[in-house]
Symmetry: C2
Subunit: 346 residues, 2 copies
């Protein structure tokens, strides 16, 4: 007899994402920010090192909560910190969805939602996006066991976004919590934070991996009404965020000047990348994220991926069963994108 | 209707441990190491900062796995890294115990085992230690739904340890996995790592919080047979350890000279603390950890705790229902212990 639960036994083996540890590749495959984080981050880490690491961190990361609350014009008890926004999604799932409970998401979208349902022994249902990446009202239909809805907004792989008004409509119709995953929202034109105060069932998750160039740090947070936050706090590991990351994340979120300048660079390069790919006959979806989704009418995406990899350029080849495939290309520096376009042009 | 699962709704609100953020207290309440970590830790962090934090960390923390494997004379696929050993305990619980599955532990012991059962919607049963802190054979009795046994060894609050031979007997009798939680084992005379190769159902968890003075870092690991490790890897967050902590933990475990010197200091102070408390008429259990468990025949533990706190000395007052109470006192520096003894003497 296996020591593992049946649902865990049934899962495919864990395959780590492609993260070559050598330095030769141009990495445009995991939506990392190509620039170095705010210099305030290293200073904050130095400061923690001065005091040493022998003491446990603040369990609720209140220093970060206060600054994030100020940024979003909320109070700190509307903020829950996590070891990356994946930790946040995990906490929410464990708190709200039992075995055979239902989790809903859109398709294609972030693969983790399905994985979390599998780990939890929950049922997972996916509603396909329409060809224009919108969702019809059936997405908000009640279902007996429905306990949680995940919606990445902007979505991956498309980079598209449902407008907050549409999210508000869906939230009103849905009989359960709606987690709006805003990992990429700092590159978009709008966000859904204001919906949290208006809808008890809306939660918004954020990540510092992309917009603050801190994927290596693991820090994310959730914005939700205080009674939701206090319920979720029961489920998190007591010390889920470490002293270095709390200080670093606090410094990062405090440097909005850095973020706005970085955002302007990424958006400039995104525009250039989109236009250049279209010149090469790719169909490219208008992106509100730090990546673009590109499909070529003739060249097979898998082949292009392999040709780029042979030239030391990693992009993400994604194939979604019963849907299709394409390339998700992270917005790198201008020179990284030049190198990409050079190979694709040949 | 609540958005939370019934088992989560039924849980008491999360109360963070007492972690005064001011610097005035002598903290002897959470078993932190009173000394600064190996200088190699800060150097490793500096080195990561040079390369920046914009990239995702190695999902499996292979640099650490290789060094830990060498230390334990195993191969790296016997090691799973976690965001603190609490993360390890969480992963094991989620992977092995479904709703209404059984988790067993001894009593009194680490409170997290019960909390993890509550979060998972599992059943929890506690077998009392005998007065000499041993366990009788009933601890290994089969039960229909039993899926996982947690055993802290050394145990908290007692600081006592079951010998590895006794653990091996229990493992042989038990029909399910046995996780031996060795968070404190670096201060003991023996450990159970060698049992892992002999018993498929034995797993050993380790923490860098205590013996490596890195509670602020959040890093722990599990030692288990490779087929167990690969099943557990399905359940962990993809990037559960961050780049800074992986590098810091690797540097820390590489500096065994520091660890042995630090251990000698702690053990010397522990001996002195134990003797001095006994001179003050406390009953003190012989400890194999970096804390001692002390009960006074006349003075109430709660009162002593409060008097110490009024003198800016924090120890841990612990009350276990249907069992009793006492003080768990972390082994600090010699001067911290002098201050404690000074107040207790008055």
């Amino acid at each position: 007899m296996s020591y593992f639960r049946d649902n865990i036994e049934a899962m495919a083996a864990y395959v780590p994402g492609e993260q070559p540890q050598g330095g030769k590749f141009i990495k445009l495959n995991t939506n990392e920010n190509p620039y170095a984080a705010s210099p305030a981050v290293a200073r904050a880490i130095q400061s923690v090192l001065q005091g040493g690491l022998s003491r446990y961190p603040d369990p609720l990361a209140n220093a970060f909560r206060r600054r994030a609350a100020a940024l979003h014009q909320l109070s700190p008890d509307w903020i829950l910190c996590g070891n990356g926004s994946d930790d946040i999604l995990t906490i929410v799932t464990r708190a709200m969805v039992g075995e055979r409970g239902g989790i809903r998401s859109a398709y294609p979208s972030y693969l983790l939602y399905h994985t979390l349902a599998e780990i939890q022994g929950a049922q997972f249902e996916q509603f396909p996006f329409r060809p224009d990446w919108s969702l019809d009202d059936s997405f908000a239909l009640a279902a007996d066991n429905l306990r949680l809805v995940f919606l990445a907004n902007p979505n991956s792989p498309s980079g598209t976004m449902l407008p907050p008004d549409r999210i508000a409509e869906l939230a009103t119709q849905l009989p359960c919590p709606l987690l709006v995953d805003e990992a990429y929202v700092d590159f978009a034109q709008d966000d859904c934070v204001r919906l949290v105060a208006q809808h008890e069932n809306v939660m918004v998750s954020r990540s510092l991996s992309k917009a603050y160039a801190l994927a290596g740090l693991r820090f994310g947070y959730l914005i939700a009404q205080p009674q939701i936050i206090s319920g979720l706090a029961k489920v998190k590991d007591s010390y889920n965020c470490d002293s270095l990351s709390i200080a670093a994340a606090t410094a990062a979120i405090d440097d909005q000047t850095w973020r706005m300048e970085n955002r302007a660079s990424i958006l400039g390069t995104r525009q250039r990348l989109t236009a250049a790919l279209r010149d090469l006959d790719f169909a490219v979806t208008d992106s509100q994220a730090n990546f673009v989704w590109a499909v070529h009418p003739q060249a097979a995406a898998k082949t292009l991926f392999e040709q780029l990899k042979a030239s030391q350029i990693l992009v993400r080849y994604m194939h979604f069963p019963n849907w299709g495939d394409g390339l998700r290309i992270s917005v790198g520096t201008n020179s990284q994108i030049d190198a990409l376009l050079d190979v694709l042009g040949r």
